[in-house]
Amino acid sequence: MQVHCRESSVQSSRVSPSPLAHHSLHFGAGAGAGASPICAPAAMISQFFVLSLRGDNIVFRDYRGDVSKSSAEIFFRKVKFWKGEEGEEAPPVFNVDGVNYLHVKHSGLLFVATTRVNPSPALVLELLQRIARVTKDYLGVLNEDSLRKNFVLVYELLDEMIDFGYPQTTSTEGLKSFVFNEPVVVDAARIPSLGPAAMFVQGSKRVPGTAVTKSVVANDPSGKKREEVFVDIIEKISVTFNASGYVLTSEIDGTIQMKSYLTGSPEIKVGLNEDLTVGVRSSAPRDFVPDYSSGNSVGLVVLDDCNFHESVRLDDFETERALTLVPPDGEFPIMNYRMTQEFKPPFKVYPVIEEKGPFKAEVRLKVRADFASNITANMVILRVPMPKTTTRVSFALEEGAVGQTTDFKESTKVVEWCCRKIVGGSDHVLTAKLTLSQERNVNIKKEAGPISMTFTIPMYNASKLQVKYLQIVKKTKSYNPHRWVRYVTQANSYVIRT
């Protein structure tokens, strides 16, 4: 059977007649003619290693001894010089000489697994991601430096997380009893002194997910462990506007993430909007008006779909829209959700592109922040590809502009406009005067754009999904840990076509 299939290779342009009942291909017991076949179930890796972006080996663990030790080099060369047209990245999974390489990028590091068998790619990639997250839980900060300083601890973790290539326990909590090395805490650069909540605070430019940089096993200098729990609602929004300014597509991909430093495994109840609807799209009762006040939210929050972490119990979800869980240590998503219901985009962009005589054109961008004035967006960056005949660009910012920078990248012909802060309700304008190398430019409008935008808006969420309460179910009344509920919205793909 195999020989037969080999002949009809993928490249073959022959159209085979579609065979009937093909799902029941039959294999004889000894089909894999030849030497001892070692074939494994769905999950098995041969090696695990972590490389820096320069290709240095930081951590290397061989579990099965069936892949050459030079795999890290082979892998790195392949990733670095990935074939294909410019700008193409190596895919997360590829095969070189019978060895499968799977990798994820995390915190500027490459986490790689190799295998000779045919595992579930989702499993291996999830596992790599999990290893990165657990390592971060233990080290507080995950980067090359912290890994190098703590590699013995990392090996302790790896030994327990994977045995003979099979994943074992990967829960931060479960691993605690196996870790004996104290983490050498590396100072994360640029951590504001405001404490772990700082990144969600207005004006900070930290990225979500790296908010809490405390190791789960490190002892506090004060000797006292701070009882606290963080619940972050992180929403990534994707919006595409057409040339007339209408929304073509929009979607919110949200995560409710938790990081708990509570002792004694208390149960936590997370209450969401009571009128939250899941999975009902067009058939949702449109005329339904909630007769109770539900905070500021107007109208129903309708999620297309959501999924939950293993630890979440949904007993009260149908009735009260509450999630109950005993949070394990470390950072993990309680719930992911997806929403395609219409929402108000936080920014509107009005571009004007005009030809201004021979060899000249002008691009005028106006940005309007469409949210409340007590909210400030951080690091708002607009990128506009210019016509390829553009040779020079001069910028004119509005009068009194603060914290705005402009740049024209000659090689890519992209204009970048960066505003460190934009307060809700305000307008900002940039005028870019272009010098072109061609006299006539018929298609100047088509050649500039589309505009893409990135930003982070703390304490804002586009979906109106809210954590209404965060109840800690524990007997003693004196127990009152710090509870943080934080919101942040980020642009995932925010595109304005011209």
Binding site: R14, P19, H26, G30, P37, C39, P41, E85, D159, Q168
Partner: protein, 742 residues
Amino acid sequence: MNADSRKGELADLKAQLRQLAGSRQPGVEDIKRELYKKVISYMTIGIDVSSLFSEMVMCSATSDLVLKKMCYLYVGNYARGHPDLALLTINFLQKDCHDDDPMIRGLALRSLCSLRVKNLVEYLIGPLRSGLKDANGYVRTVAAMGVLKLYHIAPSQCTDNEFPAMLRALLLNDPDAQVVANCLCALQEIYTAEVNVSPETAARDREHLLSKPVIYSLLNRIKDFTEWAQCLVLDMVSKYVPSDSDESFDMMNILEDRLQHTNSAVVLAAIKVFLHLTISMADIHQQVYERIKAPLLTLVNSGSAEQTYAVLSHLHLLVLRAPVLFSNDYKHFYCRYSDPTYVKKLKLEMLTAVANETNTYEIVTELSEYAANVDVAIARESIRAVGKIALQQYDVNAIVDRLLQFLEMEKDYVTAETLVLVKDLLRKYPQWSHDCIAVVGSVSSKTVTEPKAKSALVWMLGEYAYDMPDAPYILEGFIENWIEEDSAQVRLELLTAVTKIFFKRPPESIKMLGAALSAGLADAHQDVHDRALLYYRLLQQGVEVAERVVNPAKQAVSVFADTQSSEIKDRIFDEFNSLSVVYQQPSYMFLDKEVRGPIELTEDSGILPLGPTIADDVLPSQLVDATDNDLLLSASDKEESVAAVSNGSHYSGPDLAGFESSSAPPRSTSSPSSTSQVTSTSAAAATSLLDFEDLLGLNTYEVSTPALFSLKLKTKPSLVAQAFQRKWGQLAVALTLVRFVY
């Protein structure tokens, strides 16, 4: 660090370790730790520190766990290459295997098993055997994996010592789920490898692994397992063939909430089970597609780019199998600015696949936007996608408009891709030649440089010489530059085009034909030379003869050959949730022969009987009396399971037809008939169970769980059978029933 100074440093380390070996000074452990760390860090970056082996071992007589673990790590790394030195470690490892601390027992056992030295195997057997019986779950977990390691070093010693049989016992009875999971990994690997040694036994053993009692006992405690072990279990369940559709539905009921997991690996593993369970029930199979759509789309967007890729590859496979079911979801496949190229490429293929009369306009409009993209690779792919859609569709005007737009962009790569596209269109729809040729005529031949595009242009010039007045003159330009033309493909195409033009417009082209043929005959490229010679000889035979050969009346191409046969596609589908899906190749194409192996449990299990002593017709029933002894059920579950017993076989095939409507016949949870079934079959179940124990070699072990033949059914209202049915019945189902190619 150069070689000399490295040597010096190693010698230094060696001396320091030697000095510390016997020392009992306070604080010595800390110094040792630092030295050990240094050694391990060298080891990590690939420096050979095996010369320190004996010193490391000498220093390892310590109670300090941190040191011990580093030593284990070191030993594990070098023992294989230095079997003589490895012997030195046996003593202290064996001693540690009897330590009071279960963690030390476990760690030592793992190190012992990881030495991978064949002549030390004898020292392994004892500790491994006691490890499997250890009171502590962690030690048993390590021991179960240790059996597999032993098997890899010395297969016959592993089987001779009855280790697989011990694993089988643990598989059904161990209270620690991770022990069970490791037993499962080990047994699967061992049985697969054993096929070559004793095919019959191995085949029987694998059958037992896939038998109802094992599958049910795993399913009943699915939530005890870690996410990874759940994947493992689900993968095995996907190879199990239920006896009837009732059983399939019970299994799907139990697994339905796995679709809501945040871990994409669990969800995909569960989906594989669903797809395989329903493969012979076309309508239900289609509903599975509808059901898994939303969870897959959520996963696509909730993880990292890498996870997105893995999930999207699977969605891509499903879309290609049943495009109609996804035709309304096309907007989900629009590219996002932040998507990496490898994700965008998949999305473009999906957009191409789902395009039909209702959505083509939107999709092509979207694709046209990408054609102007800064990302050249994606721009190209987008134009190709438009081309593929055009070949499936009928609206000539819309497509020609797009083509004009593309050419207006005056980007070389866009023009090139467009020309190739137009050529393919013309081959399928010659009737569009008038519109298309107008487009091509506007292209300046100088801007076309890519061989593929050039060939396409040349072909069109030759083919449509009547419609393009200046065709001979454009070709003439090409012929004059024959020498500079690097691509043999283009030169071949030129020969044909010139000859074809000669048949149509001889006076204008006879000179050019002569030039082309002589250039072709002098060409260094064999194929070009041969073709020129062939045409020359044909023309010698007479123009008419030559025309019949070179330019016969052609039929329009109706279907372009698919790059993949449906057989290959089916193979990939069978290997759902594996790398095959990502590579879009069945595993035999990318795996080494020796690792490929005959693991295909799936296929066999459908044909072979379940085993001589296990009655095939045992109904999924539960021994009510036995539940009290059932260790695997928690107290609260016990009550539920009694209530759940009545989930006998109530569905029959015809009922399934009503599945699409929400008014599916409700399934009684207290039906008297099913209760009686339970009692009547319990005896049979018990008898067969006894046989089963014999087979598993359980006689030496105490069996605490006599009956696990039935699934611990879900009793929560939201997930009971009727609700399941109703819920699924509500899913929007595409109007047409899709025919899956099996």
